[in-house]
Amino acid sequence: MSETKKIKTPLTEDIIENLRAGDRVLISGYVYTARDAAHKRMIEEYEKTGKLPFDIKGQIIYYVGPTPPRPGQVIGSAGPTTAYRMDKYTPKLLELGLKGTIGKGWRGEEVKEALKRYKAVYFAAYGGTAALLSKHIKSVETIAYEDLGPEAVRKLYFENFPVIVANDIYGGDVFEEGQKKFRKLKV
């Protein structure tokens, strides 16, 4: 595992080219949240109007549906949700300029190919460590689809949000490479 890299959003191609599967990264700056229902609606809206609820060029989408904040908290618990459920929509968003996604778990082949083609990265955050991860989120603003409740699109401000590069533009896959080292039994 390499040293920790600090990056700021929005992401440029230079930043993307410098990231390799397995890299530890701390992300700062604005990111946007969207999960199942918001993705469905964003793509439907785009097909009808040619617009998305925010300018996604160079941006990161964090797959999360947080719990409501307690009084005094910025946001409730906010860990990543499983990324493959968004695979159907991700290549289109990458084509439109999205540069990063944060989630947990494997991506499908179509997303891995799209990451290479459009030069973007998929980051994995530690799933289930939601109480810890929320401490790196410093502001929250709901910007679209408020009726979706926990699935609304929110703009978050990250301060050193810890992730690991899961899939890079070179075809690297942190899960496959990591598991291979310890796999004594194949099924």
Partner: protein, 281 residues
Amino acid sequence: MREIQASLITEAVKDLVMDTEYNIPEDFIQSIKRSVEKEESPIGKEILNEILKNAEVASKEKVAYCQDTGYPVFFIEVGQEVHITGGNIKDAVNEGVRKATKEGYLRASLAFDPIFERKNTGDNTPALIYFDIVPGNKIKIKFAAKGGGSENQSKQTMLRPADGIEGIKNFVLKCIANAGPNACPPFTVGVGIGGTFDYSAVLAKKALFRHIGERHPDPKIAAFEKELLELANQLGVGPLGFGGTTTAVDVKIEVAPVHIASLPVAVNIQCHAARHKEIEI
């Protein structure tokens, strides 16, 4: 007849749900602590330590351990000498869930209609409740907050009796390997064998309520559990799927009599947010 007020059930359920969402069971915490020592992957070790830290923060700050506060699943045993007054038990349980969701700052994670609108119900109801009538004058309420990520990786199959032990082993291990990083390991794996198509899955879920390391009373099944656990940890999945030797902390099997033509097997994957607790009224 012992009378129990419905409002008492509501309050008990509210407290139970909040307690479960903030405080991961001690047996699970202890098993993670033991796994930290044994885990061979450095990043795996680090993740296990993060899991312990997360549990500590959630408990101390009374915040949800995971943002997916889960599908509320109840197994309720009602003593046949109990008479519930001032309302019905189903409504009382749902009201408890509703209150816990609001007062405990939990996420509303249920959609009312699965096919078309998928509109959020807003309060985590209706809960899934399995009732059982038992002797006695008490009510036992077992609750699990079942996360969607690990539930999505659970599977059921109807094997042929001829597939036997090898068939079961193969199905369970494939399910664990495929769940991989998507379902937030280290897992607790519930396996239901026998019964009918549907009942095997209920058994798999029920199995998750047993304590870590609590073996099945039948020594042959207990040995099978241990063997499956050992094999699961040779798959290489590791903590959160980044590779390692801690893929599961336990495999628990529940069985039921079965049709002579059938061998139903269900695997219910539980993520490291192993939230389940029980109370007795």
